[in-house]
Subunit: 295 residues, 2 copies
Amino acid sequence: MPSAATYIAVDWGTTNRRAALIGDDGVVLDGFSDDRGVLSLSRNDYPGEFAAIRGRLGNRPIVAAGMIGSNRGWRDVPYVDVPADLDTLARGAWRDEAHAVTILPGVAQRHPRADVMRGEEVQVVGAVAVGVARAEADGAALFCQPGTHNKWIDVAGDRITGFATTMTGELFALLRRHGTLAGMLDAPVTDGPAFREGLARARSEAGLATALFGVRAGVLLGTVAPADAASFASGLLIGADVAGRAPGGRVHLLGNGPLVDLYAAAIGENGAEVVPLDGTHAFAAGLRLLWEKTR
Amino acid sequence: MPSAATYIAVDWGTTNRRAALIGDDGVVLDGFSDDRGVLSLSRNDYPGEFAAIRGRLGNRPIVAAGMIGSNRGWRDVPYVDVPADLDTLARGAWRDEAHAVTILPGVAQRHPRADVMRGEEVQVVGAVAVGVARAEADGAALFCQPGTHNKWIDVAGDRITGFATTMTGELFALLRRHGTLAGMLDAPVTDGPAFREGLARARSEAGLATALFGVRAGVLLGTVAPADAASFASGLLIGADVAGRAPGGRVHLLGNGPLVDLYAAAIGENGAEVVPLDGTHAFAAGLRLLWEKTR
């Protein structure tokens, strides 16, 4: 008997979104992704967006996570605090009966450093729930989700206990477009000797903001080839982010693509074992469990 | 007998320049500063600029330091390498007889990290030569020159042995104008509890790019008042720059103004003694000695 459509899952981020029609056995029956993230929408656009999604995937309830629940999205759904697990997240969900839309909350950390996330938590609780995480002996597991704002997420058992957001990707983008390094970082970043040199330099340097000026000085003095500057700078930024994280332990790396490959290299250089995980798969697993707890 | 004018000293930087007519006893007879730094000029503008400066201060030889000697200035005068002292700098000077202009070289460091400076070295060798530096027992002295690109300069005896440039000011400016923190950092930075909290956080955080996201998250969660965000972020950036520099020793702080005061606070919090020095005075002293060695 073919799977019957039950709901539409949406990972609705800042610049992109991905929607999937989920069958009663959890399989993805249909889906699409596009660039209609929250920054391209105003609050009044959402009802029309829900109708358009249903026009493509069918008239099913929608359950969404990510920036749609932020003050830049459709509804500002309050964060739940760490420690957070599937039950905490489900209790924090907000349901709009008129539109048959459920928005999952994000997660907040208030101490020792304020931090917030919306969307990444679904991947992590999903990966943990389906058993693909390989915890340390004490039950702890560390997750890394590279992106414009890289997330490091600590899990104990099945609960998110804390996390850290690093502006690595954003700093690289700012430096590439503006200021002293602008015009020097346009080459593609590759995992070669220049990137590895950046990683090594990040471990030995006093500070990131000093190491970064070395990109410009190195090009001026001829110790950094212009074609290598972007990879060297990326190595400095990613190396500074990875430094000291989980040496001798494991890092669960969610996602795929060039940036994730660079993080895998950096984590490995740092003496940790990389456990690669499929982020789309983990998101679908987490959202299915949250859907079942909130419907 | 009144002092007779001997030469015109110019500190010709990226965005500003300062010109002074120097008497035969080293006293400043006249001078001005304006915003005609090298970025506002093309190469062909310089002869006219020299004439205009002489029109205001008199027809004397010009000796200049700073970015005028860079590839963005009038002539690309090669750097001298560390270790560098008054004699090294004087030997590296470039004289244009037709215009009666002497351009002093900058200083380059190639190991362990590429770094360059143009202009700051004159202040440092000047301060050392006139005896205002208070060296440690081993003859070493550390100088700090806050700015868009803060310089940390190590001196042993009367030689510059190494230095480090930190993009602290540039990063703050980039973050204020672009990206996730844009619009959150427009308040004036003051040395108050938020700045001090940033300094403390910088000492305890794993990395600057993580600490900076905490500014945004703190404002979202209400743990950082919006009016405090700029001071907190400045504390993170300056704190990360100062961390680990000369604890228990002295830092000679060149310059004055709000940014220098913030650095003084950060250096003090870090357990070092601040020795405040007048940068204009140090530049004049260094340039006078270099003028005497090059004319």
